[in-house]
Symmetry: D2
């Protein structure tokens, strides 16, 4: 099946392939009257844009977004917002090798097994270029939850994690890794350079914190806020794990360690003295920061030849071969995942804000 | 919002509270002609049933399921299957304390923040009793994917993990912990007994392996098989993390380490020499075992008093207090999560099998 | 496929067969804090109840509803409301004839063609008994739109229509036909008696007026208020046509005749001087009464033998035969459709009220 | 709310306004491997295209469709198909009058009541230009149900109906009214010319017949084939009524008259000797032609001044005024509804074909 729509009342649908003429998103359900033009979207696309430094793929895409519908006089009308980004740098390339053999770790084999047929140019629909459409949609979603501050950053590259005591959100924009720890950023520069030169790649962990989410968002039992976040994050290319709050750390702890005690705050409103739960209990936000951690596998495209098989020929025969994925790639795909994680967080929160008021008025 | 339906074409809706007269599930979309009576469901409910040994809550519920619709002459008709389980042991208890103060870690505060009102008896709708309905629905889903063998087990309790070299699925039924490593099971017995006696609790990790899933299931981009699994698992009570394949381990590895090379098998069909991906690439199954790991936090109900606040009184005032959750509880809620994880796996796979043939015929 | 859920954010799922142990509905998404017990639902079921006079089927069903979940202390909690109605009068009967041959006009052949298998007792899932579950769900929906007054009535039986100049809503409860014209009611008594005695049946038109619907409900383009009403009504057993406002009459008119001019009302609020549109323009309510007309075909069960075929035998062979549907039937199924039409109207309006505030706050 | 997606497993989402830069549809769920390029879509858009003769609006739009994604080497890939049509003839016009006062019969007032804000240029999102996107999507859907022959035509304009004994599908393309009765077409030419010259407009009835629909499509209870068709058709601009088979005629008939007797056909397969049901029983197709009738109201834009009110000024005050809708309009909007009705029929049937095989394999 193909299912390219996400969300329940704020829904967006994305379309487009890596090497097609364009890609885009249709955002449906956005409230009317919100100020929106391309300038509200472009900075987020720019943050995700490839080719900005030597640590990301050298494909050069301006990723200029164009709003084709849904606004009037600079404001949303409440009707679907069509966002389009043209593909510019679909470098002419010989794809015959990729057409013939499966790149391990990529979706090549799975797509063929499903559809019997695939657009093999740059991964086609399974390319991470699709995430540009999510980032554009996410920029619209942010405008629906202006009360929320969403911050994502890389907390780990390979096995090298940040020092939490040295974490400073102001540092995130000061390095090409969205790293909140300047010392880690320095180490990573070397680390990724080494991987890049070796034609290797590295995994990463992206953390995302949403501050200002009011208590009460979430839809038990099967649209819990954490369940929807898990789906949103796990569906990003290359993601293999999602945690809320302490995540797998909670599994290793005791009930006493994991408790989030409550106190009456100075102004008489509820406060928590810990946030092991990551801001969500019973699938509903507690008013604490929503905290999510996302594991990205290393980029599957590496310059080391890997064993693989050929596509079945007309007689259904396959053959052993090996493949080495030449071309332009991110040595650590998790880095450019940061704006995507933020976008998905915004989209889930905006959807749940709207779902909440559907029932609660 | 309230959203008690899960699935896309195989959909189930659950209802019921911990201390209401009954709970149930309506399974919709099941193919016709499948043999089904209560005996196909009951064993899975029995596996999840409380009160079977000293390591689980002492609430005694027979959890007898009754099929109220959707079958005729012992076979499914293709119409909705209504499953009902009566609550029997809703022990009369004084809930005044829980009504007045929030139990940290539970959904009490979040539900109040959302709905302004909650059924506080035993957690109401947020109680893990709801998972009985999932297990019943999952038993139906299994019949739709008879080609798949689903096995879940506990791989970690607290910080104590199984020895994978000693893992034996045949052991899972030989101990009260669904543990595939008999030595670990022995250690856990002591560990959980200690926690139970101390009025404490422990977290756990449940792993689930689905063998026999054909290549090609999954619906890119926003109903990816792994994304739907993530939502399914994260939505289970007390779950805080989900991994597919190597999960967070993949984030710590290099592209070479994470590769899943392919070979032509003896019979000419594709084979993989590793399964770091956990059987899913690009959101689509690869034909390898689908592997999922689920982190359960420790039971929030502990006998140690924890700081909390009272429910706002009529003037909106809250007060500091502390609460100690007396009553019957699982010292390690992850254990009884095993049949629930299996059920959710079955439900997701059955749904995707049907989604797949909707598009592919 | 089987798809037993209706609605977008207020959703209900029904289950149950004519001759199973029970039938029911799960209403999901209802706002919390609404006073609800069985007494708020029962009167609507009583209005639809069979066996109340000689003009309806003589099956005797008390249709007592039981609320199994979703309320606490007499108020809704915001969690799913499970409603169950036991079947009592599943008169033991010889169904061998219906099992063997298809009753023309019924769903027998279509169900067999689809599922290859059907519960033939009393029509199974295709029986109009399912509408009891809708009526129960509709009673909950009414509580979500207390500002709306919904009135349905029979405006035509066979080719005999009411005199609109003699229409009086107060008359609707004074006759067994939900007829607002006392003279027509008298004529219909004779007409239906004659049909009943002849073993024949008659079609009917049910009109439904919803007063107090605020302007602005509806979700363009593919969840227009009128489109959702059309689906809701066309999905009722035996319905073959739906009109909004002037309906097919509008097709026969000119733009001048069909105009709904507007005026500033005495209090400065917009008023219309006609309502050809039936309260909906562009899929959105205008603030005028929402008016819907629904065509019910005559009951397909008649005592005149009709040509039909047998079910394919094991070799796939069919044979010509004829069938005469004995047993208990409504001579005019449209009459008991009145409470069902009202229920569907309430369910659509409540859903759209909630959808509206999802987007508009 | 805004809800611009239609369908359950074959889903399409449309976007765009009458006077924006473009409009389009994203078709999601289409099976892979189907031959598709713009030439498969364009003829249907051409049939709907405005400005082709004096009986339709004089707006000149080439309505050239462009496929932006979802195909590779001339075949569908199973991923979303993005279709875009640029708006060319958004004639610069003074919209100040329409901005200030509501056009009766149009969605102007309803949109303002809902969103507080609207794109008033040519009706914005509520313009019938949106139906171009449906027609494009419908052309894709047709390729999924090649076994079905869909034919729509105008059967009535104003109060003038075709002579069914003179009906000939071959005539449909021989006149500008999609009329299957050449004598009626002649009468209508005069009739519409008169209306056009008088600045008036006329309603119409469009009939649609789908031949070759296999028995068994439809999803009881809340996605019945007829219910989904009713929603599909009622959601078309200007539609006020939908009938399946005999429709309101069935309401006026007796059970004997309405029966669809069955016979064993020559080849031993089931045949019907009548089709009062319009090919659908119990919400499931019977194998007979699916027959649907759709009532279009007269175009609301007329040259006769109609009473209306002004938009509320900043103090919320409204004033009485009158409005006369100048500009380019169809004197009978039902005529160009024919390709739209066909498209919606194709989309519903393709969706149900896929839904059916999801459950039945």
């Amino acid at each position: 099946m193909s299912w390219n729509t996400f969300g329940r009342v704020l829904r967006f649908t994305t379309w487009g392939e890596s090497h097609g003429p364009a890609l885009g998103a249709v955002v449906d359900g956005c409230p009317p009257g919100i100020e929106l033009d391309e300038r509200a979207i472009q900075p987020f696309l720019d943050a995700r844009k490839p080719g900005q430094n030597r640590f990301t793929t050298q494909r050069k895409e301006p990723d200029q977004v164009r709003i084709l519908s849904g606004t009037f006089d600079g404001r949303t009308t409440g009707t679907p917002i069509s966002l389009m980004i043209e593909n510019v740098d679909q470098r002419s390339k010989d794809y015959s090798e990729v057409a013939k053999a499966y790149r391990p770790g990529h979706a090549d084999y799975a797509y063929d097994a499903k559809y019997g047929f695939r657009d093999y140019r740059g991964g086609g629909r399974s390319s991470a270029r699709e995430t540009a459409a999510r980032v554009a949609a996410g920029a619209v979603a942010r405008l629906i939850v202006p009360e929320v501050k969403i911050t994502a950053y890389v907390s780990q590259i390979g096995d090298d994690t940040i020092d939490r005591s040295a974490m400073n959100f102001a540092e995130i924009g000061n390095n090409p890794f969205f790293c909140p720890d300047s010392w880690a950023a320095k180490r990573w520069e070397e680390k990724i350079d080494a991987a890049r030169k070796a034609g290797s790649s590295l995994g990463a962990v992206v953390e995302c914190v949403a501050e200002g989410v009011p208590a009460g968002l979430g839809a038990p039992i099967y649209a819990k806020l954490d369940a929807d976040l898990a789906a949103a994050m796990m569906g990003i290319n290359a993601v293999k794990g999602v945690e809320i709050g302490d995540g797998f750390g909670a599994a290793a702890s005791s009930g006493e360690q994991n408790a989030d005690p409550m106190r009456a705050g100075e102004n008489g409103s509820p406060e928590f003295t810990a946030n092991h739960a990551g801001g969500i209990a019973g699938g509903i936000s507690t008013g604490q920061p929503v905290v999510c951690r996302v594991a990205f596998k290393p980029t599957s495209s590496i310059l080391t030849p890997v064993d693989t098989i050929t596509r079945p020929d007309e007689n259904g025969n396959i053959e052993n071969t090996e493949i080495m994925t030449k071309g332009r790639h991110d040595p650590c795909v998790g880095i450019r995942g940061v704006p995507v994680v933020e976008a998905m967080m915004a989209l889930v929160l905006a959807d749940h804000k709207m779902l909440h008021r559907a029932q609660l008025g």
